[in-house]
């Protein structure tokens, strides 16, 4: 059956700013959906308030509306444009909720808009836990005993009836927000109260907790002909009790027999059919009893694409959002091609001949006082995925992708040996649970004990145990004596050369050399949806240590773009936006583009983005081996945030060309001493500063600089451990704190310009000329991290004189640093005098914001400047400026109820939104301006 011919124009609703529980996976799905619909000749309009997304780029949609996600905005769009249908399933729960709101207001009917890809009743059922439960019982699918409460009294009665432990889940919330376990009756009242409050309709579901049951997810697709296929099975290594977004997950499911899997598959299909009649994607979560009965109960169903479907798409190669969009248009699965093989049918179920492991990335250190224990409410801010030919390899690669100063799991001398501390950590799982599992096994704590505490399936524990016994075997040798089979066994299991070097007490380079001598090279395998049954066209690779290499090097000139790894506070989707534009620009310039990244949520790891995708850790060893294989003209490091940038030094050392700004410059800008000398030479003012290595030196220095002082370690991201101190006592304390976490690190003290206004400029420079693409003024006073500030573009009350200083300094610094590409400079303005605070010769967080506000392809230009394809004087600077654009920082403090919203020099926001205002009398601006000092702390 062909697609519905009455639909010519579709509105896609995005998910808004990044918050915990709703991240850039929806940029991936929204971008895919837009591309998929445009392939069909559909005119795509898109609404999203998040400027850091690819989906809101003119390359993605025909009409982009950077508006707040409200029914007023929808009304405005529908008034302006003929929209035939709305696709609300690509923007998470936010988009679904907005679609329901508009439905209730009658907007869709008023404008004759059809809702596709979902039906409202299905959303209703899946979000209303009581209705869901009733339906499941009706269709014979097991659920945990439970009930709903709309009042405190009803809640108390239910608890009486069900008994403890219990789970309280508020209806209609995101990422498990407000959900909690109640182990003891005395905690119940408080948690019930919180749950009722966090539900927008003040309703909670109270379930009997099935803590410790095995947890699985299935990703489904259905067409209008009612064909249902399972794209992926995902097993949570962390069993029921930890939110799936905070769990280590594995695909395919590794500990399910076919009989149990097929029962689960049947249940999932039945559930999707029961909730409503719609064509699109669906995620179903199950719990399985870990006993002989293997009883299966349904946990929840989400009738939309999700974080898990993004993961499933990357895990299998089957682009769920892309196909779901076509199904929403009326296609049936049998009419569509498998997007990877291009020769077989889209109606099939992908099969994997590798394993993927996803590990979440947390940022607890940003939330002082936060409860760090993992539970029902998601707390992670990002994730990394490792692909390997076996579970152990995938696990090691995922650990190497995390960038938490570990070289993988184990073999880095960082393990704990205190039994009590380890056991305590296993009882109260946090971000380091996996590492402490390893420590516990290594220490010889019996499996029975570990299993009783964690309920983790013994198969996974045994896999870690095997790694430890392999390490013990390796430790018996030296680099000279290690047998080839043993080294190979380690490499096949994902050990980095650094880990092997640690075990053999030698240098990483010696291990590399040994491997080279033995011909033990990485090979690259294809992710092809079909376990090699059919030839595949799509160049989506991962590395392993086996016989055959499938990645064939072409003769084209090529460039490697390094991605930004897992999202974290201070480094998020903005850098993925930059990487994707870098790829597109390099393609336009005639390069074969090679993307390396390990974040499954992103557009950069969509196999449709670069010419070749290596889904690999942004970790030196992997990158080096890819570069050795591909032999590119060079590597672009300035688009992937600090992750990519910090690899510059090694690339330089190994003689690999860095395209754009050279390593020396990157280093010069990072090294405060060298940079200040440069400023001095240029006659550019900067706050008095100094660097120290001990608390005593700090106090000494403070006497010359004077308080308040800004104290921070050098070489950090997002203002990590940055603090303003006002007296010697505070100074001493903070310096000791920093040195505890980062021993041997240099500490910088800057005189803090109290009451100054902050501003920043982004520019493109080719070494000769500089183009300032935007100057932003922060609404909050200096002292709040730029990422957490409201920024106004262009500056709204700086004097002509101050602006001229900013322009002059930006150009001169960019040229003096021999910048080739992007540079961001931060300023403090006090008494009309401009001081330079720092310069970052790389794409900054604000570049996408400026590009969106001015509707100009700045990253594209910058990339071509890096490649030497364009000169700054060729650029036609023509920003589309109407009034002001405000960058709004968005926080996820609601996920940490114990933490006060306090802002300071350390960044805490998870996302951003853009708002356009015509003039400064705008009520939104006035409100923000009047509250500018509200959250300032030190």
């Amino acid at each position: 059956m062909p697609k519905d011919p009455s639909i010519k124009s579709i509105l896609i609703i995005g998910s808004g700013p990044i918050v915990i529980g709703q991240a850039c996976e929806f940029d991936y799905s929204g971008s895919q959906a837009a591309r998929s619909l445009r392939e069909e000749g559909i005119e795509v309009s898109l609404i999203n308030s998040n400027p850091a997304t690819i989906m809101t780029d003119p390359v993605t949609a025909d009409h982009v509306y950077l508006l707040p996600l409200t029914s007023d905005s929808i009304r405005q769009i529908l008034g302006e444009r003929q929209i035939d249908a709305v696709l609300p399933t690509m923007g998470g729960q936010t988009a679904l909720n907005l679609a329901i709101e508009c439905q209730d207001l009658g907007l869709w009917d008023d404008y004759g808009v059809k809702m596709i890809g979902v039906d409202i009743d299905a959303i209703e059922i899946t979000e209303n836990r009581e209705a869901f439960r009733k339906l499941m019982i009706e269709i014979g699918v097991g659920v945990a005993p439970s009930g709903t409460a709309k009042s405190f009294l009803e809640g108390k009665e239910l608890a009486q009836e069900l008994g403890f432990p219990l789970v309280i889940r508020p209806s209609y919330t995101l990422g498990g927000s407000g959900a909690s376990f109640v182990h003891e009756p005395e905690d119940f009242d408080k948690l019930l109260n919180r749950g009722l409050h966090s539900s927008p309709i003040h309703e909670v579901m109270i379930d009997k907790a099935v803590i410790g049951w095995k947890e699985y997810e299935l990703e489904l697709l259905r067409d209008k002909n009612d064909n249902v296929i399972i794209i992926c099975s995902i097993e949570n290594m962390d069993p029921m009790g930890i939110h799936t977004g905070d769990s280590i997950t594995i695909a395919p499911a590794l500990t399910l027999s076919d009989t149990t899997y097929q029962r689960m598959r049947n249940m999932a299909i039945k559930m999707m059919r029961a909730i409503g009649d719609f064509a699109g994607g669906c995620n179903v979560q199950f719990a399985v009893s870990p006993d002989e009965k293997e009883e299966i109960i349904a946990v929840e169903i989400n009738p939309r694409v999700s974080r898990s479907s993004a993961l499933a798409s990357k895990a299998t190669g089957y682009p769920i959002a892309k196909i779901a969009s076509k199904l929403a248009l009326g296609y049936t699965l049998d009419e569509l091609d498998n997007q990877i093989t291009k020769s077989t049918s889209a109606l099939f179920e992908p099969t994997l001949d590798y394993v993927i492991v996803k590990i979440p990335r947390w940022n607890f250190n940003k939330f002082k006082g936060a409860n760090r224990e993992l539970g029902l409410q998601m707390k992670s801010v990002g994730e990394a995925m490792g692909i390997g030919r076996n579970f152990q390899e995938a696990l090691q690669k995922a650990c190497q992708s995390l960038e938490i100063n570990r070289n993988g799991l184990g073999a880095d001398g960082k393990e704990w040996r205190d039994q009590d501390k380890i056991l305590e950590s296993l009882k109260h799982p946090s971000w380091n649970r996996l590492f402490h599992l390893y420590d516990a096994i290594k220490l010889g704590i019996p499996f029975k004990t570990i299993r009783e505490i964690t309920k983790i399936d013994p198969w996974f524990l045994h896999q870690i145990e095997e790694l430890i016994s392999l390490e013990r075997e390796i430790e018996k040798h030296s680099i000279q004596s290690i047998p080839e089979e043993l080294l190979r066994a380690a490499k096949e299991r994902g050990y980095a050369d650094r880990q092997v070097a640690h075990l053999l007490r030698c240098w990483e380079s010696e291990v590399y050399k040994k491997r080279e001598e033995l011909g033990m090279q990485r090979v690259f395998k294809l992710v092809d949806t079909c376990a090699a049954e059919f030839p595949a066209e799509t160049p989506y690779y991962y590395s392993t240590f086996e016989q055959e290499n499938e990645s064939v090097r072409t003769n084209r000139k090529k460039v490697v773009i390094l991605g930004s790894g897992p999202n974290r506070i201070g480094q998020g989707i903005e850098f993925d936006y930059c990487c994707v534009h870098g790829v597109l620009a390099a393609k336009e310039a005639g390069y074969e583009t090679i993307m390396i990244n390990c974040n499954p949520e992103t557009v950069s790891t969509d196999f449709d983005t670069a010419d070749k995708l290596y889904f690999e850790p942004v970790f030196w060893e992997h990158i080096y081996d890819i570069i050795q294989h591909e032999k590119p003209e060079g590597v672009i490091v300035q688009l992937g945030g600090q992750t990519a940038l910090k690899l510059a030094e090694k690339l330089d050392r190994y003689g690999i060309p860095i395209l754009g700004t050279a390593y020396e410059t990157l280093d010069k800008a990072e090294d405060r001493g060298v940079f200040s000398d440069l400023l001095k030479e240029l006659g550019i003012p900067y706050p008095k500063y100094g660097s120290v290595e001990t608390a005593e030196e700090a106090v000494e220095l403070s006497r010359t600089l004077g308080f308040p002082l800004l104290v921070r370690p050098s070489y950090v991201l997002g203002g990590h451990s940055m603090k303003i101190v006002i007296n010697e006592q505070e100074l001493e304390h903070h310096v000791v704190d920093i040195l505890k976490d980062m021993p041997g690190n240099k500490i910088l003290l800057d005189h803090f310009l109290d009451g100054a206004i902050e501003a920043e400029a982004d520019a493109i420079c080719d070494g000769e000329d500089t183009l300032i693409i935007g100057i932003m003024e922060h609404i909050e006073p200096a002292g709040i991290h730029s990422g957490d500030s409201y920024a106004v573009l262009p500056a709204f009350d700086l004097s002509e004189n101050a602006l001229n200083q900013i322009k002059d300094y930006t150009s001169r610094i960019a040229i003096a640093l021999e910048t080739k590409g992007l540079i961001n400079i931060q300023f403090a303005v006090k008494d009309d005098k401009v001081y330079v605070i720092e310069a970052n010769p790389r794409a900054s967080r604000t570049v996408p914001f400026i590009a969106k506000a001015y509707d100009q392809p700045y990253v594209n230009w910058a990339t071509k400047v890096m490649l030497g394809e364009l000169k700054v004087k060729d650029l036609n600077y023509d920003p589309k400026q109407h009034g002001f654009a405000i960058k709004i920082p968005v926080f996820s403090f609601d996920k940490f109820p114990d933490v006060n919203k306090e802002l300071g020099p350390e960044m805490k926001s998870t996302g951003e939104a853009i708002q356009f205002i015509n003039h400064l009398r705008d009520p939104f601006f006035k409100k923000v301006y009047s509250e500018r000092n509200l959250y300032l702390s030190r």
Partner: protein
């Protein structure tokens, strides 16, 4: 636990390609036709499926053995693959229901395997070069010796194998007391789950050896005939083909699965042919041409019905096609109460999307027996 890899093993293909790995299961030597299965679950059901008789099987999913072996989940009384090639062979298993590890089970049943092989490279090789014979050994490392043994292995083409796995004596299955239909099963290598699926639907069965003549089965007075799955080349099976021809001549309700489908096709005058490398897995897409709906199916076959001959035979209607290569996946006789499918509606391992075919068979028997449409 000590890290101790097992001893080495080698796999040699008919075209001389060699893969090295480690021993899995019993230490020994084995030969067969090499084939690959892409299923991610169900290794136990697959290894005991009689249709795999004579086949060295490559499992593409990297970990085999994770959930051990459960005595309730066998598809026959024995392991039917002649050897296993895997990437990771897990001696450790985790399942409350399981009785033993796959390694223990293999050792007990004398199954030879090789693991730590780049199975993906091997599959790509087979995909290009086609099915061929192979030898695995974990006891002989002299390649020329292995090649010489391999040379003596007969080709699968023209090979009759049903007799190796079919029951020697008839036996009954299901509820003898209360049942709605009696089904005679022509056992060419029947999977347990076909019998279970029919028993669940009120059938009492008598399972006959592969070479049983029609008259002998007919004396039991069945309401319908089930032609089972099984191994080998259908064109080398004149006896079962004759039996099925007789069943059809007598207008008996008939349902064929896999090899049974191929035999029914032959009995209807169609040709069968050897495939390049077969269909084996649990994710194969089928389109039901009657309803227009898709089914995800379990498949395991190296031979198939020739499509042209099916299209050009007047009494044959193609009812199902394979969506990937458009091959014939199901046929029905326009003139007889008989239909058959190339895939496995009983699907163990595999999805249950096609179980409705058993209901269709029941409806067919009902119609013939009572003269009504259900």
């Amino acid at each position: 636990m000590k890290f101790k890899p097992s001893s080495s093993a080698v796999l040699v293909l008919e075209d001389g390609t060699i893969f090295h790995g480690l021993a899995a299961g019993k230490i020994g030597t084995t030969t067969g036709e090499i084939a690959f299965n892409t299923g991610m679950t169900g290794y136990q059901e697959i290894f005991t499926d009689p249709s795999y008789y004579g086949q060295i099987l490559i499992m593409t999913t990297p970990h085999i053995g994770n959930y051990g072996v459960d005595e309730d989940e066998f598809e026959s009384g024995s392991v039917n693959i002649s050897g296993l090639v895997s990437n990771k062979f897990s001696e450790i298993f985790s399942r409350a229901k399981a009785n033993q590890s796959i390694d223990e089970y293999f050792k007990e049943r004398d199954v030879v395997g090789i693991t730590e092989v780049d199975t993906r490279a091997l599959v790509r090789h087979i995909r290009e070069k086609g099915a061929m014979n192979a030898i695995i050994s974990s006891e002989i490392d002299d390649i020329s010796e292995l090649k010489s043994r391999l040379g003596k292995v007969p080709s699968m083409e023209g090979l009759e194998l049903a007799s190796k796995v079919s029951t020697k004596e008839p036996f009954t299955y299901g509820d003898a007391e209360s049942h709605e239909f009696k089904v005679a099963v022509l056992d060419l290598g029947v999977k347990q789950n076909i019998l279970r699926c029919l028993a669940e639907r009120g059938c009492y069965m008598k399972v006959f050896p592969h070479n049983t003549p029609f008259q002998e089965m007919e004396t039991w007075n069945p309401d319908g005939y089930m032609l089972s799955n099984g191994p080998g080349d259908p064109s080398a099976m004149p006896e079962p083909t004759r039996t099925v021809t007789n069943i059809l001549e007598h207008n008996r309700p008939t349902f064929g699965i896999c090899l049974g489908h191929q035999v029914m096709a032959q009995a209807s005058g169609l040709q069968t042919e050897k495939m390049h490398h077969g269909h084996r897995g649990i994710n194969h897409p089928i389109l039901n041409l009657h309803t227009g709906k898709g089914e995800i199916t379990s498949q395991n076959h190296g031979f198939m019905v020739n499509r042209t001959s099916a299209e050009n035979t007047e009494n044959i209607q193609i009812t199902h096609i394979h969506l990937n290569d458009k091959s014939v996946a199901g046929i029905k006789r326009k003139d007889k109460p008989a239909f058959s499918v190339q895939y496995h509606p009983e699907a163990s391992a595999g999805p249950h999307d096609s179980r409705y075919l058993f209901d269709d068979f029941i409806a067919l028997m009902k119609k013939e027996k009572y003269g009504v449409n259900s």
